[in-house]
Point group: C2
Chain length 176, copies 2
Protein backbone atom coordinates (compact mmCIF):
# COMPACT_ATOMS: atom_id res chain seq x y z
CA UNK A 1 0.00 0.00 0.00
CA UNK A 2 2.42 2.70 -1.18
CA UNK A 3 5.86 3.99 -0.31
CA UNK A 4 7.29 3.73 3.22
CA UNK A 5 9.11 7.07 2.89
CA UNK A 6 7.55 10.52 2.63
CA UNK A 7 9.17 12.60 -0.10
CA UNK A 8 12.48 14.24 0.77
CA UNK A 9 12.90 18.02 0.81
CA UNK A 10 15.36 18.17 -2.09
CA UNK A 11 13.07 17.92 -5.11
CA UNK A 12 9.93 19.24 -3.34
CA UNK A 13 11.30 22.77 -3.42
CA UNK A 14 10.80 22.75 -7.21
CA UNK A 15 7.20 21.48 -6.89
CA UNK A 16 4.76 23.85 -8.65
CA UNK A 17 2.77 25.87 -6.14
CA UNK A 18 5.20 25.15 -3.30
CA UNK A 19 4.65 28.70 -1.96
CA UNK A 20 0.96 27.89 -1.47
CA UNK A 21 1.90 24.61 0.27
CA UNK A 22 4.04 26.68 2.66
CA UNK A 23 1.15 29.08 3.30
CA UNK A 24 -1.20 26.18 4.09
CA UNK A 25 1.36 24.45 6.31
CA UNK A 26 2.06 27.67 8.22
CA UNK A 27 -1.69 28.42 8.44
CA UNK A 28 -1.87 25.09 10.24
CA UNK A 29 1.33 24.82 12.24
CA UNK A 30 3.18 28.14 12.15
CA UNK A 31 3.72 30.47 15.07
CA UNK A 32 4.56 34.19 14.92
CA UNK A 33 5.77 35.13 18.35
CA UNK A 34 6.86 38.38 20.02
CA UNK A 35 7.82 38.62 23.67
CA UNK A 36 9.25 41.31 25.89
CA UNK A 37 11.67 39.67 28.35
CA UNK A 38 14.04 40.97 31.05
CA UNK A 39 17.60 41.43 29.82
CA UNK A 40 19.95 43.49 31.99
CA UNK A 41 22.23 43.95 28.96
CA UNK A 42 19.63 46.09 27.14
CA UNK A 43 19.40 49.84 27.69
CA UNK A 44 15.90 49.68 29.20
CA UNK A 45 16.49 46.36 30.99
CA UNK A 46 14.04 44.60 28.66
CA UNK A 47 14.51 42.97 25.26
CA UNK A 48 11.99 42.30 22.49
CA UNK A 49 12.35 38.75 21.15
CA UNK A 50 10.82 37.73 17.81
CA UNK A 51 10.51 34.29 16.28
CA UNK A 52 8.74 32.65 13.36
CA UNK A 53 8.59 28.91 13.98
CA UNK A 54 6.96 25.69 12.81
CA UNK A 55 7.11 22.61 15.04
CA UNK A 56 6.64 19.01 13.88
CA UNK A 57 7.38 15.48 14.99
CA UNK A 58 10.95 14.67 13.98
CA UNK A 59 9.61 12.18 11.40
CA UNK A 60 8.57 15.20 9.31
CA UNK A 61 12.11 16.62 9.19
CA UNK A 62 12.06 16.81 5.32
CA UNK A 63 9.07 19.18 5.47
CA UNK A 64 10.96 21.49 7.86
CA UNK A 65 14.11 21.31 5.71
CA UNK A 66 11.90 22.38 2.83
CA UNK A 67 11.01 25.54 4.81
CA UNK A 68 14.71 26.32 5.28
CA UNK A 69 15.09 26.00 1.50
CA UNK A 70 12.03 28.08 0.57
CA UNK A 71 12.75 30.93 3.02
CA UNK A 72 16.52 30.75 2.57
CA UNK A 73 17.03 31.31 6.29
CA UNK A 74 16.34 29.77 9.70
CA UNK A 75 17.50 26.49 11.18
CA UNK A 76 16.15 23.34 12.85
CA UNK A 77 16.21 22.90 16.65
CA UNK A 78 15.33 19.79 18.66
CA UNK A 79 12.57 20.61 21.15
CA UNK A 80 12.39 19.14 24.61
CA UNK A 81 8.77 18.12 24.93
CA UNK A 82 6.87 19.22 27.98
CA UNK A 83 4.02 16.75 27.54
CA UNK A 84 3.75 12.99 27.53
CA UNK A 85 4.18 12.38 23.79
CA UNK A 86 6.72 9.80 22.88
CA UNK A 87 8.01 11.40 19.69
CA UNK A 88 10.91 13.81 19.44
CA UNK A 89 9.91 17.28 18.17
CA UNK A 90 11.78 19.46 15.73
CA UNK A 91 11.32 23.23 15.31
CA UNK A 92 12.06 25.32 12.23
CA UNK A 93 13.03 28.68 13.68
CA UNK A 94 13.83 32.15 12.29
CA UNK A 95 14.80 34.71 14.95
CA UNK A 96 17.17 37.16 13.27
CA UNK A 97 15.34 40.42 12.55
CA UNK A 98 16.97 40.98 9.17
CA UNK A 99 15.90 37.46 8.03
CA UNK A 100 12.37 38.07 9.27
CA UNK A 101 12.12 41.48 7.56
CA UNK A 102 13.80 40.51 4.28
CA UNK A 103 12.57 36.93 3.81
CA UNK A 104 9.62 35.93 5.98
CA UNK A 105 7.51 39.11 6.03
CA UNK A 106 7.67 39.75 2.24
CA UNK A 107 6.83 36.07 1.59
CA UNK A 108 3.56 36.26 3.56
CA UNK A 109 2.72 39.67 2.11
CA UNK A 110 2.99 38.17 -1.39
CA UNK A 111 1.27 34.91 -0.33
CA UNK A 112 -1.27 35.83 2.36
CA UNK A 113 -2.32 33.40 5.10
CA UNK A 114 -5.97 32.31 5.04
CA UNK A 115 -6.74 31.41 8.67
CA UNK A 116 -7.06 33.79 11.63
CA UNK A 117 -3.27 33.39 12.00
CA UNK A 118 -3.05 36.16 9.43
CA UNK A 119 -3.85 38.66 12.18
CA UNK A 120 -0.93 37.38 14.26
CA UNK A 121 1.31 37.74 11.22
CA UNK A 122 0.19 41.32 10.62
CA UNK A 123 0.88 42.27 14.24
CA UNK A 124 4.24 40.48 14.04
CA UNK A 125 5.24 42.34 10.85
CA UNK A 126 4.08 45.62 12.38
CA UNK A 127 6.26 45.14 15.48
CA UNK A 128 9.31 44.26 13.37
CA UNK A 129 8.95 47.43 11.29
CA UNK A 130 8.30 49.51 14.40
CA UNK A 131 11.58 48.11 15.82
CA UNK A 132 13.39 48.82 12.55
CA UNK A 133 12.51 52.46 13.18
CA UNK A 134 13.84 52.18 16.76
CA UNK A 135 10.37 52.17 18.34
CA UNK A 136 11.42 49.66 21.02
CA UNK A 137 14.10 52.00 22.40
CA UNK A 138 11.67 53.99 24.52
CA UNK A 139 9.54 52.80 27.42
CA UNK A 140 6.43 54.05 25.61
CA UNK A 141 7.35 51.93 22.58
CA UNK A 142 8.06 48.85 24.73
CA UNK A 143 4.66 49.22 26.40
CA UNK A 144 3.01 49.48 23.04
CA UNK A 145 4.73 46.27 21.82
CA UNK A 146 3.92 44.47 25.07
CA UNK A 147 0.23 45.33 24.77
CA UNK A 148 0.21 43.96 21.24
CA UNK A 149 1.80 40.65 22.37
CA UNK A 150 -1.15 40.19 24.72
CA UNK A 151 -3.42 39.96 21.65
CA UNK A 152 -1.26 37.33 19.91
CA UNK A 153 -1.18 33.51 20.18
CA UNK A 154 -1.84 32.45 23.77
CA UNK A 155 -2.87 35.93 24.84
CA UNK A 156 -0.89 35.82 28.07
CA UNK A 157 -0.49 38.86 30.30
CA UNK A 158 2.81 40.60 29.50
CA UNK A 159 5.41 40.51 32.30
CA UNK A 160 6.70 43.84 31.07
CA UNK A 161 3.32 45.49 31.59
CA UNK A 162 3.19 44.11 35.14
CA UNK A 163 6.69 45.36 35.93
CA UNK A 164 7.50 48.52 37.89
CA UNK A 165 9.08 50.09 34.77
CA UNK A 166 5.80 49.91 32.86
CA UNK A 167 3.62 50.88 35.82
CA UNK A 168 5.74 54.04 36.22
CA UNK A 169 4.66 55.11 32.71
CA UNK A 170 2.33 58.13 32.77
CA UNK A 171 0.76 57.42 29.36
CA UNK A 172 0.82 54.44 27.02
CA UNK A 173 0.38 55.19 23.34
CA UNK A 174 -1.11 52.50 21.12
CA UNK A 175 0.87 50.79 18.34
CA UNK A 176 -2.00 49.34 16.34
Amino acid sequence: MGSENPSGAGNQQERPGIEQWVVGFVDGEGCFSISVVRNAGCALGWQVQHEFSVTQAATSRPALELLVGVFGCGYLIENTRNDNHRELLLRFSVKRRSDLLRRVVPFFEENPLITAKRLDFERFAGVLRFMEDGGHRTEEGLSSIARLTEQMNRRQRSRYLESSEAIRQPSQPTLS
Copy 2:
Protein backbone atom coordinates in the same frame (compact mmCIF):
# COMPACT_ATOMS: atom_id res chain seq x y z
CA MET B 1 -1.54 47.47 11.09
CA GLY B 2 -3.62 45.62 8.54
CA SER B 3 -7.11 44.24 8.25
CA GLU B 4 -9.06 42.95 11.24
CA ASN B 5 -10.66 40.15 9.21
CA PRO B 6 -8.94 37.12 7.69
CA SER B 7 -10.04 36.52 4.10
CA GLY B 8 -13.38 34.81 3.64
CA ALA B 9 -13.70 31.42 1.96
CA GLY B 10 -15.68 32.68 -1.01
CA ASN B 11 -13.01 34.14 -3.26
CA GLN B 12 -10.13 32.07 -1.85
CA GLN B 13 -11.35 28.99 -3.70
CA GLU B 14 -10.31 30.67 -6.95
CA ARG B 15 -6.86 31.55 -5.59
CA PRO B 16 -4.10 30.12 -7.84
CA GLY B 17 -2.43 27.11 -6.25
CA ILE B 18 -5.28 26.59 -3.78
CA GLU B 19 -4.80 22.78 -4.08
CA GLN B 20 -1.25 23.18 -2.75
CA TRP B 21 -2.52 25.36 0.09
CA VAL B 22 -4.93 22.54 0.98
CA VAL B 23 -2.06 20.00 0.91
CA GLY B 24 0.05 22.17 3.24
CA PHE B 25 -2.87 22.83 5.59
CA VAL B 26 -3.73 19.12 5.74
CA ASP B 27 -0.02 18.22 6.16
CA GLY B 28 -0.21 20.38 9.25
CA GLU B 29 -3.67 19.87 10.67
CA GLY B 30 -5.38 17.00 8.85
CA CYS B 31 -6.26 13.63 10.33
CA PHE B 32 -6.94 10.39 8.42
CA SER B 33 -8.59 8.08 10.89
CA ILE B 34 -9.79 4.48 10.75
CA SER B 35 -11.26 2.68 13.76
CA VAL B 36 -12.90 -0.68 14.33
CA VAL B 37 -15.69 -0.23 16.88
CA ARG B 38 -18.35 -2.50 18.38
CA ASN B 39 -21.70 -2.27 16.58
CA ALA B 40 -24.25 -4.97 17.27
CA GLY B 41 -26.06 -4.00 14.05
CA CYS B 42 -23.17 -5.20 11.86
CA ALA B 43 -22.86 -8.82 10.71
CA LEU B 44 -19.62 -9.44 12.61
CA GLY B 45 -20.58 -7.24 15.59
CA TRP B 46 -17.89 -4.70 14.65
CA GLN B 47 -17.93 -1.72 12.31
CA VAL B 48 -15.08 0.01 10.50
CA GLN B 49 -15.36 3.81 10.83
CA HIS B 50 -13.42 6.15 8.55
CA GLU B 51 -13.02 9.90 8.75
CA PHE B 52 -10.91 12.61 7.16
CA SER B 53 -10.96 15.67 9.37
CA VAL B 54 -9.30 19.03 10.00
CA THR B 55 -9.87 20.81 13.32
CA GLN B 56 -9.36 24.52 13.96
CA ALA B 57 -10.34 27.23 16.40
CA ALA B 58 -13.77 28.53 15.34
CA THR B 59 -12.17 31.85 14.37
CA SER B 60 -10.73 30.04 11.32
CA ARG B 61 -14.17 28.95 10.06
CA PRO B 62 -13.55 30.47 6.58
CA ALA B 63 -10.53 28.17 6.09
CA LEU B 64 -12.68 25.12 6.90
CA GLU B 65 -15.48 26.34 4.63
CA LEU B 66 -12.85 26.58 1.92
CA LEU B 67 -12.14 22.84 2.40
CA VAL B 68 -15.87 22.07 1.94
CA GLY B 69 -15.69 24.03 -1.32
CA VAL B 70 -12.47 22.47 -2.62
CA PHE B 71 -13.45 18.86 -1.82
CA GLY B 72 -17.12 19.34 -2.68
CA CYS B 73 -18.13 17.21 0.31
CA GLY B 74 -17.98 17.08 4.10
CA TYR B 75 -19.46 19.38 6.72
CA LEU B 76 -18.47 21.43 9.77
CA ILE B 77 -19.09 20.15 13.30
CA GLU B 78 -18.61 22.01 16.60
CA ASN B 79 -16.20 20.09 18.84
CA THR B 80 -16.53 19.94 22.59
CA ARG B 81 -13.01 20.58 23.82
CA ASN B 82 -11.54 18.16 26.30
CA ASP B 83 -8.74 20.45 27.40
CA ASN B 84 -8.60 23.81 29.11
CA HIS B 85 -8.52 26.01 26.02
CA ARG B 86 -11.02 28.81 25.99
CA GLU B 87 -11.78 28.83 22.28
CA LEU B 88 -14.54 26.88 20.57
CA LEU B 89 -13.25 24.28 18.06
CA LEU B 90 -14.71 23.48 14.65
CA ARG B 91 -14.06 20.27 12.69
CA PHE B 92 -14.27 19.79 8.92
CA SER B 93 -15.32 16.16 8.57
CA VAL B 94 -15.80 13.70 5.70
CA LYS B 95 -17.05 10.27 6.79
CA ARG B 96 -19.06 8.90 3.86
CA ARG B 97 -17.04 6.21 2.04
CA SER B 98 -18.14 7.27 -1.42
CA ASP B 99 -17.05 10.88 -0.74
CA LEU B 100 -13.72 9.68 0.61
CA LEU B 101 -13.10 7.39 -2.37
CA ARG B 102 -14.34 9.74 -5.09
CA ARG B 103 -13.18 13.13 -3.75
CA VAL B 104 -10.60 12.97 -0.97
CA VAL B 105 -8.41 10.03 -2.04
CA PRO B 106 -8.00 11.14 -5.69
CA PHE B 107 -7.22 14.69 -4.51
CA PHE B 108 -4.25 13.55 -2.39
CA GLU B 109 -3.10 11.12 -5.06
CA GLU B 110 -2.90 14.03 -7.52
CA ASN B 111 -1.48 16.40 -4.91
CA PRO B 112 0.69 14.31 -2.56
CA LEU B 113 1.25 15.21 1.09
CA ILE B 114 4.83 16.09 2.04
CA THR B 115 5.05 15.27 5.77
CA ALA B 116 5.02 11.81 7.38
CA LYS B 117 1.21 12.14 7.32
CA ARG B 118 1.44 10.82 3.79
CA LEU B 119 1.94 7.32 5.23
CA ASP B 120 -1.29 7.66 7.23
CA PHE B 121 -3.06 8.74 4.06
CA GLU B 122 -1.74 5.76 2.10
CA ARG B 123 -2.91 3.33 4.78
CA PHE B 124 -6.27 5.15 4.92
CA ALA B 125 -6.75 4.92 1.13
CA GLY B 126 -5.71 1.26 1.20
CA VAL B 127 -8.31 0.40 3.84
CA LEU B 128 -11.07 2.22 1.92
CA ARG B 129 -10.29 0.29 -1.28
CA PHE B 130 -10.04 -2.97 0.66
CA MET B 131 -13.53 -2.25 2.06
CA GLU B 132 -14.82 -1.37 -1.40
CA ASP B 133 -13.91 -4.95 -2.33
CA GLY B 134 -15.75 -6.24 0.77
CA GLY B 135 -12.54 -7.03 2.67
CA HIS B 136 -14.06 -5.96 6.00
CA ARG B 137 -16.81 -8.58 5.79
CA THR B 138 -14.61 -11.36 7.17
CA GLU B 139 -12.95 -11.65 10.57
CA GLU B 140 -9.57 -12.06 8.85
CA GLY B 141 -10.15 -8.81 6.98
CA LEU B 142 -11.26 -6.97 10.12
CA SER B 143 -8.12 -8.13 11.94
CA SER B 144 -6.01 -6.93 9.09
CA ILE B 145 -7.65 -3.48 9.16
CA ALA B 146 -7.38 -3.33 12.97
CA ARG B 147 -3.65 -4.04 12.86
CA LEU B 148 -3.20 -1.27 10.32
CA THR B 149 -5.05 1.22 12.56
CA GLU B 150 -2.46 0.53 15.27
CA GLN B 151 0.22 2.00 13.00
CA MET B 152 -1.80 5.19 12.29
CA ASN B 153 -2.05 8.46 14.23
CA ARG B 154 -1.95 7.83 17.97
CA ARG B 155 -0.92 4.19 17.52
CA GLN B 156 -3.36 2.95 20.14
CA ARG B 157 -3.96 -0.75 20.71
CA SER B 158 -7.05 -1.85 18.75
CA ARG B 159 -10.02 -2.91 20.89
CA TYR B 160 -10.99 -5.31 18.16
CA LEU B 161 -7.65 -7.12 18.36
CA GLU B 162 -8.08 -7.46 22.13
CA SER B 163 -11.61 -8.84 21.80
CA SER B 164 -12.56 -12.50 22.02
CA GLU B 165 -13.61 -12.50 18.34
CA ALA B 166 -10.11 -11.57 17.20
CA ILE B 167 -8.30 -13.80 19.70
CA ARG B 168 -10.30 -16.76 18.31
CA GLN B 169 -8.70 -16.17 14.89
CA PRO B 170 -6.27 -18.94 13.97
CA SER B 171 -4.30 -16.83 11.48
CA GLN B 172 -4.23 -13.12 10.72
CA PRO B 173 -3.24 -12.19 7.18
CA THR B 174 -1.56 -8.83 6.65
CA LEU B 175 -3.20 -6.02 4.64
CA SER B 176 -0.15 -3.89 3.91
